[in-house]
Amino acid sequence: MSLVLNEDQLMLQESARDFCREKATVAVLRKLRDEKDPRGFSDELWQAMVGLGWAGMAIPEAYGGFEFGYSGLGIVLEETGRTLVPTPLVSTVLLGATAINLAGSEEQKSELLPKVAAGETVIAFALEEGALHNPSNIALGAEKTADGYTLNGDKVFVLDAHVADYFIVVARSSDPADSNDGISLFVVDAATPGISVQRLNMVDNRNAGNVRFDNVKVPADALMGAEGQGRAALERTLDIGRIGLAAEMLGGVQEVFERIVDYLQQRTQFGVQIGAFQALQHRAAIMYSEIELCRSLVRKALLELDRGDDAEDIPALASMCKAKLSEVYELVSNEGIQMHGGIGMTDEFDIGFFIKRARVAQQTLGDASYHRDRYASLRGF
């Protein structure tokens, strides 16, 4: 299995990179922020990306997708990570569509996946209930009624919550003491009475919100898969999400690093390029080495995902990716500011956007220590 990109993938990478550098630049994010954009992302740009096939990248052809696999989606995420442009890629394509594809009924898939591939809907994944990623601690309740379920509880840090057409809600439908662990997934129309969204203004200027479910009545066919048995699909969705997010982070890491190296070659002090100083050279060389490891991990994990039923070791690979990328993005984004000196601290300069995105991405779906702990458990210690 080759860890080197093939011809098709290289072409996709080049076209995605060109698109992001020309149209989906950091300036787009800056403008959305400065103008306090009510949607939080550019619909026009998103539709252009949809036109390039990005929204249907990992969706099966039978449901209107392009079956380019997670390797393809990973390449796209990596390039968007280089320019930080906000899109519904993570909420809708990476998490929402994946959950539907894994756990949804034939009807749910036929109705929603083609809409995702066509860029006609935004789906938000309502999982977290506290400040730290913790998918094993779900309190939002789903009570069975005569004709469906009633949802009650609060979700926090739901990506793209305020622009969502649907929520995928991770709920508890029975006590974990029962025979299964009682987690059920629901796909819920965002217009259902009883749902209220409080938009959050996050440091990375990407969309997130807190969502309250107050006696939200959903029909029986809102349930995805069997009642109380959503854990496996949830875990796999999260692992795919973690790997995809790691791909986005890899893009950010490489971009910051390349900007650092450029600056070391341009900036002169004491009559020489500052890149001649070993104190800076060695730190740059260390970052380069760490980034090479990140690239191998992300590539390997995406390749495994595309092996479908033959995929091996996905949970551990997902935790390795998310742990390592979280560490290295922290390192590189910190060095991004330090090595640029004073100008790195200014809002006018772009590097600050990366450290802000880095920290939010680090926390999303589990930070480095969460995933090292999980990895240790998976490896039997």
Binding site: A284, Y288, S296, K324, D373, Y375, A376
Partner: protein, 414 residues
């Protein structure tokens, strides 16, 4: 692909039949086969295994069959490696001839030189050592001063080398000598081969902090070497020296891999299990800080192993080792150092014994003592083959394109 699958089937069958059972167990340091005129085989199966593999050229699977190598394609050699890994077969032969000199001879030596030296490397008949560092030329290797002066059709060599690994056990040396004393330092060096049994060669082992003596001082006193033993062009030895260093780094980076030669059956092989057993833990390691450090190490270790694979796949598309060899060397060495520091933390004072004073090892087991010695030995990983800092310089200059401060310093001196 069909051919590859039938090759796999044949290889698997052959290995099943020919790899002795004891060669499928972790390899203690004293059973590593280095070959040479005075080769010792503590385990007689090692000799059987070496001869069988050498007959097929599989000690050097991708080298041309013309010179005794296996003549396998890269893909076939990967299949062989996978099949050996599958039964945990030991490498039949480990040598500097295989990992460093051979690849360079194949690339740069004459047909006659290859015919003379390559088959003996393949069969483990001649053990080589590396005459690079000198007391006054370490990181600044090109500043070396060992002299070779032409006298008739022979060079007369005078000078000394240091940190020559296993010089006292080696049969031949590949050596950097100065052949032009007027030229700039990089342009007056030649790469020459000679027999360590030549009159005038002496070696003196250096005792290390680990108690072992893997390195020697090596002295040359009017050693006479045929002029035809120069490899490549006269005074162009630096080109060969650098090429060989890339192979050396690739070899040393292998120290970071948790397979093959590193699978020694010691405490450092499975750190988590070691840590749990010394604490009496079941299921989960009770020290959360150590658990986190071991997890971090293992993640880096897996990522490094994938990076080695990726680098090899990329190298296949270009030619030979590239600048990433410096990165791999450094990361592999740091990982190996981390591995042994963690082994010490995992096993507490039991990994800090120096030697056993009992007959049955009830104070310290052989595995524990080996861990202590290997921990000390690992400190050299980031010095040999070019220091950690020199490799960072190489990455900064060759990969990142940053200005070369060391050449600025050198030009200021002039």
């Amino acid at each position: 692909m069909q051919d590859l699958e039938s090759f796999r089937a044949e290889t698997r069958a052959w290995l099943e039949e020919n790899c002795p059972a004891s060669m499928r167990t972790p390899m203690p340091e004293d059973e590593v086969v280095w070959g040479g005129r005075n080769a010792e085989f503590k385990n007689p199966d090692s000799k059987v295994w070496l001869d069988r593999m050498a007959d097929k050229g599989w000690t050097t699977p991708t080298w041309p069959a013309e010179y005794g190598g296996g003549g396998l394609s890269k893909a076939e050699s990967m299949v062989l490696a996978e099949e050996m890994q599958r039964i945990k077969a030991r490498p039949p032969l480990v040598s500097f001839g295989i990992s460093m000199l051979g690849p360079v001879l194949l690339e740069m030596a004459t047909h006659e030189q290859k015919l003379e030296h390559i088959p003996k490397i393949v069969r483990g008949e001649i053990r080589w050592c590396q005459g690079y560092s000198e007391p006054g030329a370490g990181s600044d290797l090109a500043g070396l001063g060992t002299k070779a002066i032409l006298d008739g059709d022979e060079y007369v060599i005078n000078g000394s080398k240091i940190w020559t690994s296993y010089a006292d056990k080696a049969d031949w040396i590949f050596c950097l000598v100065r052949t032009d004393f007027e030229a700039p330092k990089h342009s007056g060096i030649s790469f020459i081969l000679f027999d360590m049994a030549s009159p005038g060669v002496t070696t003196k082992p250096i005792k290390l902090i680990s108690g072992n003596s893997v390195f020697c001082e090596t002295f040359f006193d009017n050693v006479r070497v045929p002029a035809g033993n120069v490899v490549g062009r006269l005074n162009d030895g630096w080109t060969i020296a650098k090429r060989l260093l890339q192979h050396e780094r690739t070899m040393i980076s292998g120290f970071g891999l948790s397979s093959g030669r590193n699978n020694r059956g010691g405490l450092a092989d499975s750190l988590a299990q070691t840590a749990m057993s010394y604490r009496g833990d079941t299921g989960k390691l009770s020290d959360p800080a150590l658990r986190d450090q071991i997890a971090q190490f293992m993640i880096d270790s897996e990522a490094f192993s994938l990076t080695s694979q990726r680098s090899a796949q990329e190298a296949k598309q270009s030619k030979g080792p590239n600048a990433t060899s410096s990165m791999l060397k450094n990361y592999g060495c740091e990982l190996n150092k981390r591995r042994y520091e963690l082994a010490l933390k995992a096993a507490g004072t039991q990994a800090l014994g120096w030697e056993s004073l009992t007959e049955d090892g009830s104070d310290f087991s052989a595995r524990e003592l080996d861990t202590t010695r290997q921990w000390l030995r690992s400190k050299g990983n980031s010095i040999e083959g070019g220091t950690y800092e020199v490799q960072l310089n190489v990455i900064a200059k060759r990969v990142l394109g940053l200005p070369d401060m060391t050449s600025m310093v050198a030009s200021n001196k002039k």
